[in-house]
């Protein structure tokens, strides 16, 4: 689908990974039994925006925790270093759902900037790829 939009194969593969990671996040951390998750893709001359929107799961603390994770990724000026740091943490920690590896991977491998907004009980997470 992405290649039909005129994107070269490498960019298409990378953005497919980004979309998959965002969708997995929505399934993992969204409301249990949520009826829909909306994936949208906007291809513009200067870049591509991948957005996944889903109903917020859990209580307000979940949104705050997610916002904190997003902020840590966004604050890092070195996406490779941030990703490596999370890999090292994942190797040492007991298994848990909050490794932030997916978000860090989107920033590093996908070369995307991350944004999010909460509106009327829905969380929309966007990955912005600049060409």
């Amino acid at each position: 689908m992405l290649e039909k939009c005129g994107l070269p194969p490498d960019e298409s593969d990378s953005l497919a990974m980004v979309a998959q990671e965002l969708l997995e996040n929505a399934v993992k951390y969204g409301a249990p039994g949520a009826e829909e998750i909306v994936l949208s893709l906007r291809v513009e001359e200067r870049g591509v925006v991948v957005e996944v929107k889903s109903r917020v799961g859990g209580d307000e603390s979940n949104v705050r925790a997610f916002g904190g994770a997003m902020q840590r990724i966004r604050d890092s000026s070195d996406s490779f270093g941030a990703y490596v740091e999370r890999l090292q943490q994942a190797a040492r920690r007991p298994y848990s759902g909050g490794s932030e590896l997916g978000l860090a991977r989107i920033a590093y491998e996908g070369r995307c900037a991350l944004e999010f907004r909460v509106d009327s009980g829905y969380l929309a997470v966007s990955a912005v790829y600049k060409r």
């Binding site: 990974m17 998959q20 990671e21 090292q88 190797a91």
Partner: protein, 124 residues
């Protein structure tokens, strides 16, 4: 006749264990996109680290034929590296340099390499 290859399969992912000279090679095939791949991978990787330790051979995780792995898959992999390191088992991760996603993904795993080569990440 005994099949020298052992296989683990879950969804679109399969692991094949091959006994080679001085190594146990675990070949990854298909796609690893499960939400909780650790349930399947941790037992398989732990058993492989333990078997390599018993036999005194290197464990080689061969990803070169793998089509895709999600971020959730990296956790069992890096935990296997950590387990091998703690048990004194040599471990190598092999990937395809021709696949751009693998070159990017596995370059980050070089952080686990050790100077003595007991943990190695090798692009082929």
């Amino acid at each position: 006749m005994v099949d020298p290859v052992r296989r683990w399969t879950e969804g679109e992912l399969s692991l094949e264990a091959h006994d080679g000279p001085g190594e146990l090679r675990l070949v990854w095939r298909g796609r690893s996109a499960d939400r909780e791949p650790g349930k399947f991978l941790v037992p398989a990787l732990t058993a492989s680290v333990e078997e390599s330790g018993r036999r005194g051979v290197r464990l080689c995780l061969d990803f070169s034929a793998l089509e895709y792995m999600n971020s959730s898959t990296f956790t069992p992999v890096v935990k296997a590296i950590d387990l091998a390191r703690r048990r004194g088992v040599a471990i190598a991760l092999e990937y395809s340099q021709a696949k751009k996603w693998q070159a990017l993904s596995f370059s980050a795993l070089r952080t686990f390499e050790t100077a003595d080569g007991r943990v190695a990440v090798l692009g082929r």
